[in-house]
Every structure is written in structure tokens, then in C-alpha cells.
């Protein structure tokens, strides 16, 4: 479920808070002076000699426009010469606009590393057509990145200053009012530690206290949608596909409420659920229960798709991989298991910690997984095939809760402190050396989630809810057709229908979603074999080599045999060479060890 923000459909709405700092886009016919003048326009407030800023980053002079024009290698065909117009004026930017190669590369999806065995001419033309198509679409996509006007926010210390020292109050002071309003605390000391969840558009917030307090609100406008007490312990809260439906894992069963707080369903098959996770593209609600079952509930038809027994005791750590919709479960024996509703067994099991796993989080691109365990370690794993740790860090108390933001920032809740680490770029893993931000809360952390499309981290703790400002955490550009924070009721309904039409079947969840675009080789081979059996011969088999007849005695039996032998030997050599190429590791292993082996070594046990 590779989702790339689709720039074409972006309809950047008018945000009042962005208006103030939005820079008028420079046109090519304008002179350079106007650009610099715009650059010198009043920037964000700079207090205490710190250059910090929320989302709307000041474009640095003419950088952006220059970057576009001077790309490394303009791929586009240049028109043969400057076309002279009727008036005699020349087009200063003749030909199509250049696109930078790196951006185009991002949208190229044909895996060229794989060898394609010598295609015939017919096939070759098809392959060439496919490649041309890919190139064209990727160039178009790259070109439309121009429409991604927003840039992520950032926080920068003065030289040598640590950003972790900057307090929330400082940030709030520095940013504009609209952004400052996004930092708030809800003091709800009465109903115990809170779990929280943002809706997929990032507009709505639902939270549930352990002592039964459940509420949902439009957190931007602070308009309360509903507030109820379910009179039962609440373990977890989760919005379903839209903000109108809310799943609450209560002490016994799973309940579903609407945005008025009216109970719609009580799902008794999902009993004693501890954690909830909603897979938006599959319309599946995954529940992990105390009884050790992982249950998938299809919320579009109300059916249990799969109930998998994890055979690892109580399940209390769960997260989803947004890239491939695989559910990650953390277990008390230090392993993290990966689940799909199509398989009864875990897709993979990774031994992460010596103690039990306390929290797991997967970044939105599906490349990194952060885990924390009872051994007080925080580890970052590579999820692309090898599942090896990239970096590790021991934390004083160990992290109880982890969350990744849309741009790959990692937040960890340790006791009453939240630490946030940032990486270098968007795709890079967060470096665990220096925290990017820290914040102390009034209670112990019980739930963490970054708000989508807003630079906000929601923390549920024993003292209520805190909404923190984390500059640069969220994706600045949203897809207006996919998850629009400003959508109307009508738009939401429209989207709901479309999303239901595009629902992905549950059985398609697998570790590598791109594998679905591959031919099922096993059944292909099987079909081939069956066909050969039916026909009595293999129609695709190459005929054995038949030596050509030659004259003047050169076609004697002996020479025929010799020639046959030659070809056979050649084939054999090729086969051997191939097999040797496949296993180069084996030879490396046979290398002599550093110390010379002694004859007495054989007695060593």
C-alpha cells in the first residue's frame, strides 16, 4: 500500500495561520530585485536570538526557484532552437521545464536491478514501451511536485545551542497565535491515565481514560463532539475510517460508538481487548486481547476476518506497519511478531530484547521499527528484509510508549517525560544520540500519537491530555482527495464511498506488497508441468542439439558424436559457472583462518 502524496490533486486550502507568512511566488518575468525584496520581508518573530519556526518555513531568497531551473541533467528534450514568434521576441525558457533527476527517480518503480532474461524482439518492444511509460509518468509526477507548496517546519538552535533545551513555552511564545493555540493541556486528573487517537485527517481527537471517560472533539476548534462515561475500564480508543465512528476497547468487550456518543455495536467476539489498531485501506480493526488472540474485524461488513492465536500469552503491545498493513505484536519473551490475517502463523519473528517488549512503533514508510524493552533499551530496526538493528540506546528508565511521526521523528514516553529524536532528512532514521525535543508532563505517559498534517504530538497521561508542538513532525502537504482536514460533510461522504470501493481485500496483506505484482511462479510451474503431462511432451522444451550434416566425410559418426559432445560440455560448463556464481560465499568461508591451525587442534573440544 504504497501511498505517495499525490500532488496533482492537492488543493491547498486557505489556512489562516499560513496566510501571514506565505510568500508571494516569484514569477520568471519578475526581476531578481523583487525576489530579494520578498526575501527580506518580515520573517517569523525571533526571540531570544533563536531562529525557530513552525511549519511555514521561510524560503531562503531565491533558492527554490533556482533549484528548479538548474537541475543536474534536464531530461526533457529541448526544442530544436528558439522559436521566433511573430513579434521577433524569443522565449527565454524554450522547451519543457527541466526536472531534477533525483525527484524523477523517486517515482520510478520498475526494479531495474533484476535481470531480465534475453527477451525476444516482440517482448523487447513491450519492455521498451513499459519503460517509456514509466519515464513519462514519473516525469509528470516529478513535475507536479511544484504544487507541493508547503514546506515542513523546523527548529534550529543558535550555533551550539541544543534544541532539546528549548521548552514548549518558548516555542509557543515564538510562533503565531494560530499555531500557539495548538499547544494545550487538558487537566483530567479524575479518570486516570488516558489513551488517545487522532483521526486520519488529523482534525479530530478521541481519548479514553482508564476509568471510563471517553470523549471526542475537534481539537483544532476545541469543539466537543461527545463525552460519555462507559462505566467500565477503557483500554484503548480508536477512530475507524472516519471521525464518525469510534471503537473503544472496554473491560469486557469491544464497543463502537458514533460521534454523538451513541453505542452502535458491542462486538462480543473481541473480548478483553487491550489494544486496537485500524487498517484504513483494508477497513480492518485489529484487536489484541488479553487471551492472546489477534482478531481482525472487517468494519465495512461487520465480519471477523481472522482470529489468530499468537500463543504468547497476554498481548498488550501492538502497532501497525502503515506501509504494508502488517500488525506488529510485542511479546514478553523479547520478540516482535509480524502478522497478517491471511496466515495462521506469524510472517516473521524478531528477537529484539532480552526482556519483554514494552513498545513498538513503525515509521510511515515502513522501513524502520523502533522497539523498547524491559532491558531499558531503545532499538531501531531495519524492516527491509534483514530485520537487523541499526542503532540502539539505553535509556535511564526505558521507554514505555513509542510513536513515529509522518516525517520520521520518533517520540518516546519514559515515565513522565517525552523525548523526541529527529533524523537528518525525511527518509533517514532518527539518530538516537541527541534528543530533538524533551518535555516533562504532569503525569505518567500512557498514550502517544503524532497528529497527522499538524506539527503536534498528542500525549495522554495520568493527568489528562497534552498537545505538544513539535516543529517539523508532520507532512506539510496533504492530499485533498485522500485525507483532507478541511473537508465538509458532503466531501467526507463522497470519500467514504470511494474508499469503500477501493477497499483492499484482507488476504492481500503480506510483508512485501510489491510481491503481489509478481507472477505466481509456483502455480505457473505447476500448470506447465500439468500441460506437459497432458500432451505427453514438453512443448516449451528446447530440442536436443542435432549436429548439422556436413560433406566430405566430416559427418562421420565419430565426428557427429564429437560435435554433440562439444555442445554438451559447453552447456555443462555454463551450468557449473552459474552455480559457482550463485554461491560465492562458500568459497570465502574456506579461507584459512588467521592463526595457523595446529595439529593439536583436533583434540580441542
Amino acid at each position: 500500500m504504497e501511498t505517495v502524496p499525490k500532488p496533482g490533486s492537492n488543493v491547498p486550502p486557505k489556512k489562516e495561520r499560513l496566510q501571514a507568512k506565505k510568500k508571494k511566488p516569484r514569477r520568471y518575468w519578475e526581476q531578481e530585485t523583487t525576489g530579494t525584496a520578498a526575501g527580506a520581508s518580515p520573517g517569523p518573530p525571533r526571540k531570544r536570538k533563536r531562529n525557530r519556526e513552525l511549519r511555514p518555513q521561510k524560503p531562503k531568497k531565491n533558492d527554490t526557484s533556482k533549484k528548479f531551473r538548474i537541475s543536474k541533467k534536464p531530461r526533457e528534450l529541448k526544442s530544436p532552437g528558439p522559436q521566433r514568434s511573430l513579434s521577433g521576441a524569443q522565449d527565454p525558457f524554450a522547451g519543457p521545464a527541466p526536472v531534477s533527476v533525483e525527484v524523477v527517480q523517486k517515482y520510478c518503480r520498475i526494479d531495474k536491478s533484476k535481470e531480465v532474461p534475453h527477451p525476444k524482439t516482440k517482448t523487447r518492444s513491450r519492455l521498451a514501451a513499459a519503460e517509456a511509460q514509466e519515464e513519462e509518468t514519473s516525469v509528470r509526477a516529478a513535475r507536479s511536485e511544484l504544487l507541493l507548496a508547503e514546506e515542513p517546519g523546523f527548529l534550529e538552535g543558535e550555533d551550539g545551542e541544543d534544541t532539546a533545551k528549548i521548552r514548549q513555552a518558548d516555542i509557543v511564545e515564538a510562533v503565531d497565535i494560530a499555531s500557539a493555540a495548538k499547544h494545550f493541556d487538558l487537566n483530567l486528573r479524575q479518570f486516570g491515565p488516558y489513551r488517545l487517537n487522532y483521526s486520519s485527517t488529523g482534525r479530530h481527537l478521541a481519548f479514553g481514560g482508564r476509568r471510563g471517560h471517553v470523549a471526542a472533539l475537534d481539537w483544532v476548534t476545541k469543539k466537543l463532539m461527545c463525552e460519555i462515561n462507559v462505566m467500565e475500564a477503557v483500554r484503548d480508543v480508536r477512530f475507524l475510517h472516519s471521525e464518525t465512528l469510534l471503537a473503544v476497547a472496554q473491560n469486557r468487550w469491544l464497543h463502537i460508538y458514533d460521534n454523538q456518543g451513541i453505542e452502535l455495536h458491542c462486538v462480543r467476539r473481541c473480548d478483553r481487548a487491550t489494544r486496537l489498531e485500524f487498517l484504513p485501506f483494508h477497513f480492518l480493526l485489529a484487536t489484541a486481547s488479553e487471551t492472546g488472540f489477534l482478531t481482525y474485524l472487517d468494519v465495512s461488513v461487520g465480519k471477523i476476518v481472522a482470529a489468530l492465536n499468537a500463543r504468547a500469552g497476554r498481548l498488550s503491545v501492538m502497532t501497525q506497519n502503515p506501509y504494508n498493513a502488517v500488525i506488529h505484536l510485542g511479546h514478553s519473551n523479547g520478540t516482535v511478531s509480524l502478522w497478517s490475517p491471511a496466515m495462521k502463523e506469524p510472517l516473521a519473528k524478531i528477537l529484539c530484547h532480552r526482556g519483554g517488549v514494552r513498545a513498538v512503533a513503525v515509521d510511515p514508510t515502513g522501513t524502520h521499527m523502533a522497539t523498547s524493552g524491559l532491558d531499558h533499551q531503545l532499538k531501531l530496526f531495519d524492516l527491509r528484509g534483514t530485520f537487523q538493528p541499526l542503532s540502539a540506546r539505553t535509556l535511564p528508565q526505558g521507554a514505555g510508549h513509542l510513536a513515529f511521526s509522518q516525517r520520521g521523528l520518533l517520540a518516546a514516553g519514559m515515565g513522565d517525560v517525552v523525548n523526541i529524536w529527529a533524523g537528518q532528512g525525511k527518509a533517514s532514521p532518527p539518530s538516537l544520540e541527541q534528543p530533538y525535543l524533551t518535555h516533562r508532563l504532569s503525569g505518567h505517559v500512557h498514550g502517544l500519537q503524532f497528529c497527522p498534517y499538524e506539527d503536534v504530538l498528542g500525549v495522554g497521561h495520568s493527568g489528562g491530555i497534552t498537545s505538544m508542538l513539535v516543529p517539523g513532525s508532520a507532512e506539510p502537504n496533504f492530499d485533498g482527495l485522500e485525507s483532507n482536514p478541511y473537508r465538509s460533510r458532503k466531501q467526507r461522504q463522497e470519500w467514504e464511498v470511494k474508499a469503500l470501493l477501493e477497499k483492499v481485500p484482507a488476504e492481500l496483506i503480506c510483508l512485501d506488497p510489491r510481491a503481489l505484482a509478481e507472477v505466481d511462479v509456483v502455480s505457473l510451474e505447476q500448470a506447465k508441468k500439468e500441460r506437459a503431462e497432458r500432451l505427453g511432451y514438453d512443448p516449451d522444451a528446447t530440442a536436443p542439439f542435432q549436429p548439422k550434416l556436413k560433406q566430405k566425410g566430416r559427418s562421420s559418426t565419430a565426428s557427429l558424436v564429437k560435435r554433440k559432445r562439444k555442445v554438451m560440455d559447453q552447456e555443462h560448463r555454463d551450468k557449473v559457472r552459474q552455480s559457482l556464481e550463485q554461491q560465492p560465499q562458500k568459497q570465502e568461508k574456506a579461507k584459512p583462518t588467521g592463526a595457523r591451525p595446529s595439529a593439536l587442534d583436533r583434540f580441542v573440544r
Binding site: V4, K6, P7, G8, R109, D111, K114, V116, P117, P119, T123, L127, A129, A130, Q133, E136, T137, R140, S144, A164, K165, N333, G334, A342, L347, A348, K349, I350, L351, C352, H353, R354, G385, T386, F387, Q388, P389, L390, S391, A392, R393, T394, P396, G415, V417, N419, T438, E482, E507, R514, A515, L516, A517, E518, V519, D520, V521, L524, T593, G594
Partner: protein, 766 residues
Amino acid sequence: MSMNHAAESNLLASNQQKELEDLPKDYPLSTSEDEGDNDGERTHQKLLESISSLNGKDRQKLAERSEASLKVSEFNVSSEGSGEKLVLSDLLEPVKTSSSWAAVKKQLNRVKSKKTVELPLHREEIERIHREVAFNKSSQILSKWDTVVLKNRQAEQLVLPLSKPPSAFAPIEHVVSGWKAGTPLEQEIFNLLHKNKQPVIDPLLTPVEKASLKAMSLEEVKMRRAELQRARALQSYYEARARREKRIKSKKYHRILKKGKAKQALNNFEKLQKVNPAAALEELKKLDKARMMERMSLKHQNSGKWAKSKAIMAKYDLEARQAVQEQLARNKELTQKVQAASESEEEEEGQKEEEEPLVPDMVNGVQIKANGLNPWMLQNHFSDAKEAEVQKDLKDPAEPEAQETSESEEERAVVEEETLLKEFEERRSLRQKSELNHMAEPVHRRVTKDPSSQEVLSELRALSQKLITENHQSGKQERSSARTAQREEPAREEEEPVLLQRPERAQTLDELEGLGREGCVENKELPRTAVEGLQLEKNLSNHIGAPKEKKRKEQMIDLQNLLTTKSPSMMSFAVPMTVQELEDREEKGQRQMTKEAFAGDDVIRDFLKEKREAVEASKPKDLDLTLPGWGEWGGMGLRPSAKKRRQFLMKAPEGPPRKDKNLPNVFINEKRNIHAAAHQVQVLPHPFTHHQQFERTIQTPIGSTWNTQRALQKLTMPKVVTKPGHIIKPIKAEDVGYRSSSRSDLCVVQRNPKRLSIHHKKTSGE
């Protein structure tokens, strides 16, 4: 004529004799009958004979044969005694030539020349031939359409009815030129333009003017022509000369030529060296490469045709023997290795490495803070450390000696080392020279004095090797570090796959202790590595001793290290409340605490066991087909023999290697997801022969989620578009630019195939 007559009369005589004998009474003998009656007589006689034979008595009577007598008679002619021989031609030739004979001759000739008419072919055969011809003809006609069909098939989109490709967009100027000012406003504007003599349309010059501008002047053309002529002439001269030279068979000439060429090359090289040293070096490299190629291809061994013949001759011929020896010498010279210079250095390095086995490398590693477990990062750091060390060594080569050594082996090697050191020094100075490009000159002076050019060349080659090695030495300083790192890598991997390293190298245990006293973060690390063996023994029973080593070699990543890596604990500005007061104690006691907490449950062993079981379960099972008691005794307590069992054990085919083979901390389920497989493509579409080819064509997504609107439209474009309300006529030859005749031919073939067959019948009837 007379002879003929004689023969005839002779025959007649015999006939008459017969008649006389047969019918002595019936007919009176008449010799004076004329010729014309003769025939009638004979038939008559025959008739009589047949009548007489009817009466059975002498039915068997044979005709009597008479012989011509030797005597000269009036009826016979004899050539005896005449002395002349009779020639056949005399007999054949007419006595008198007459015109009437020519006609006969002609007729005869005509008859002779006419062959017999062959039998007509079988009807089926004829039809087959005709079919073949017709097929060839029509396929040839049809093949003209191949390109059109292919083009249409490969076209992204076909718009039917097919229209001619739209001509290119006419530039606005052309459109404008054909346009006349209509409205009064336009007229006014044009008037203005004309008044000011402004160009109204863009091409300011007429095409004729443009052409004239482009054209060359007459002189230029002449000069160019002359130039071309000259070049052509020169080329032809050169070609002729080359051809002549090629035909020269003199060996001496060729030898001289070769020598001359070698000399020339040498001179050129020297000049080049003076003018452009860098290019000279390049040349040298090229030479070296040629030498290497030769070394690889073994050209100068005595295995060639020439060499073999010479070897045979060598026994008797002194010259041949010399040639063979020369060849051998050349081979030796070309195939010798050039590494001799760098070997000693490597040895030295090796010795240096031997000096410090007191402390294993892993202890001296770099402590990498964030990426403590990333093996890639580790290698980099390691090589960095090495590099630094090697460079240091190069700066003061006396250092290894100064180092205190405790090994006897080292002492023995001291003397050798000194010599090596000297060599090293020398080479270093040489290198410095070469860097300044001075060194090449004296050598070359010596070279030019050398009489035999053959030796010169070899010298040159050796020099090139030397130069290259020397010049690369500076680069080598860097590279050697990488090389040493590479050389050490395998060993290091076996020792400790995930090393924890530090930039400074502790040389001895004392220093190590000193480091420990520093009390930095790493000091925790060192004891840990030291006691690691202990831990291993405790934790993993299968990781002990020799088998342990083997196991480790298989598992590239060590589980133990993976899980228990200790990175320095975080320094945070906000430390959780509960921990804050304990902070200092926490640091120390933390490890202890976790150890205590999880002393009982050995997570790793459990996981490994689980993994092993799962792997075993997923392996295909062997099939045992032994029948107990078959061919041998069976019963309680008896098992079929091992040989039998081995014989009837069907080994399951070994599948591909598991993905998690080298990942000890991971178990990847390799079961097929049949639910997902149902959604996958299971049949290869037509033109593809391999699934990878097909996969490549479907890798680009065609959804609106992944594409821009225009791209989506293009991707989902229908293959064939028909214009509503238009008649789609079959394609015609004129449409694609063929003449209509070919088409009409085809039409004839297609429409009335009978006509051909009628034609065939006609021919067969003939």
C-alpha cells in the same frame, strides 16, 4: 554399284540353289529374270513353302545356309589379293553427291535431335507445384503489408477509420502569410507597418536569398574540390604502397622494419616524456597493460605453430635453436611477476601486525555511539583506525623497532627487518623522485646508450612497472590501509563479528588497564568483552569451543552481541522524576539489575530452539520406502539393514536457502500465502517467455492514487478508438503509400483462385 550387284547376285545365286533343291521339278530354272520380278518370286516362293510345310512331313525343316565361295566366280567379288582395304566410309558415302540426299540428311538430323516426349506429371503433383508457386507469389505480395501491420499492432492507440498522420503544425508565420487583412482595423495596422517598412511576416528573407547566403563562392568550391582530389590521390598512393609492402616476403626486410618501428616508438616516448610527462606515464601504463595481456594470453610460449616447427629444427639448425631460446627468454621476461617490490613491504606490515597480538583487535576498536551495532559502520571505523596507523608507520619507519617487544620470534627477525627497512627507505626516496618526475630521465639516458633495441624495450617495460608501482605508492598509503583492513576482515569476523572499537589502540595490557582507569564510558565496555566468553558459556551451551567457532562462522551476526550491546546511556535534560534521584547509582546498577531480573529466562536459547523447530518443520520430509522383511528376515526386534534403508530412502529435494539463514535473531515464515497467490497472475501472457519480463511491464502502477491526471489518462487510454458515424473501410494500398498494382495482383489471387487452376489444367493438358 557393281559390287552391290555382285553381292546381290551372289545372294540370288544361293537362293536359286535352294529353290533348285526344294523344287527341282516345279519350276524351271531361269537365271535371266529381271530384278523387278525377283520380289514377286520370293513371296511366291514363301507362299509355296508355307503350303508345303502344311503337310507335316518336313515342318521342322530349316533353311539351308550357304557360304560364299572363296573362288572367284562371276557372281562373287573377292578382295583377296587386291591389296586395297575396304573402308567403311567408302561404303557409306554415296558415289555421287546429289541434292536429294541433303534433304534426307536434314530430315535424319531432325529426327535425331528430337528427344522423346516425357510423360506428363501426375495430376496431384502438378497441383502441388502450382499451389506452391501461388503461395510464394501471394506471400511475397502480402509481405509488403508486414510493416504496416506491425506498426498498427505496436501503436499505442489506433484511431479508426485510419486517417493519414496529421501534418506538422504549421508555424504561425505560414498561416499569417496566407492571410489577408480584412477588417478596416487590420488594414490600418498593415498600412502602418508597410509605411514603416516593418517586416510583416517572420521569414525576412525569401528562400532563394537564403539559399544564396548558404551557398559557397566559386573559389571556395574549386578549392574544396582540389582538396578532395588531392586527398583521394594520396589515399590511393598510400594504399598502393601498403599493398606493395605487404607483398614483400623478405624476412630481413621485416626484421629491419620492426626494429625501426621499435626505435621510433622509443624516440617518440622520450619526446613525449620531455613534453608531457603525464602522457608518458599513460603510455607506460599502456605498455604495462600490453605486457599483462601478453602474460595472460601466454602468447610467447613455445606452443605455437612456428615454435613447434623451430623446436624440431633446433636439433640440427643453430639458427633455429637460437630463435627458440630467444622466444623462451622473451616468454620468461614477459611473464614474470612485478610485485616483487611491494611484497617486502607487505611482509613488514605483516610483522608489525604480529607484534601486537597481546591485545586482540576487538578491544582496541572504536566505540561507536549511535550505530553500535551496524557492521558497516564498524568496518569503516576500523579501516580508519588502520589507516591512521599505517600512515604513522610510514612516517617513521624506525618505530616498529623502537617498540618494546617480548616475542622471541621478533628478535630473530630483527636483522632481516633492518635490511628490509633500508630497502624501504630507498624505495621511499625513489618514490619521492618519481613524484617529481626526475627519475625517469637518467634511466632513459642509460637506455638510449644500450645497443640492442630488444633489451631497450624490455628495460622500458621494467621501468614502466617500477614507475607505476612507485607512483602508486602514494596512493598506496591510503590503499594499503584498506587492504590491510580487508585482509583482516575475515579473521576479525571469526573472532568477533560485531566489534566494539575505539580510535586509540592500546598496545599492551598495561595500557589497557590505564584506559580502564580513565573511567570514561568505554570502561564499562572492556570488562564486558573480557567476560564475554564466560557469559557465552553460561548462556549458550552450543556456543562453546570449536563447535562454537563453527557456528559463529555460519551465523554472521552474533545474537549475544546483538541483544546486549551497551551504548552509553542517554544524557537528557529532562529525566523522569522517579529516576532523577537515583541517577548516578542507576548507571552502575542498571546492568546488574537487568541481569538479575532476567537471569532465569534465557530468551535467546528459547528463541533459537523455537526457530530450529520451525525450520525443521518447514523442511520437506524424506520418504522411507523400506519394506521390513522383504529380502531379509523380519519380525519383532529386527530392523531392516542400514543398506536397505539407505537404498529405499527417497531424499526430499533441498529447497532454496532460507532467507533467515544468516539472521540469527529473525525467523521468517516461508510458507506460501495461498490467499494472496489467488490474486496473483498465474499464466504468462503471450509474447513473454519469462515471468520476469512480464513483471517488469506491470510494475508501473496505473491508478489515480499514484499518477497525475494526465498520466492516468494516457495510461488508461483505449487501444482502439472508433469515430462514431464513420465508415471503417478496409485498409487500402494507397492509404499506406503503395502502388495499387500490387494490391490488384493480390485481389486477383484472392478473388478467383479457380482461374489459376484452370490455367494449370491447360498446361497439364498440353
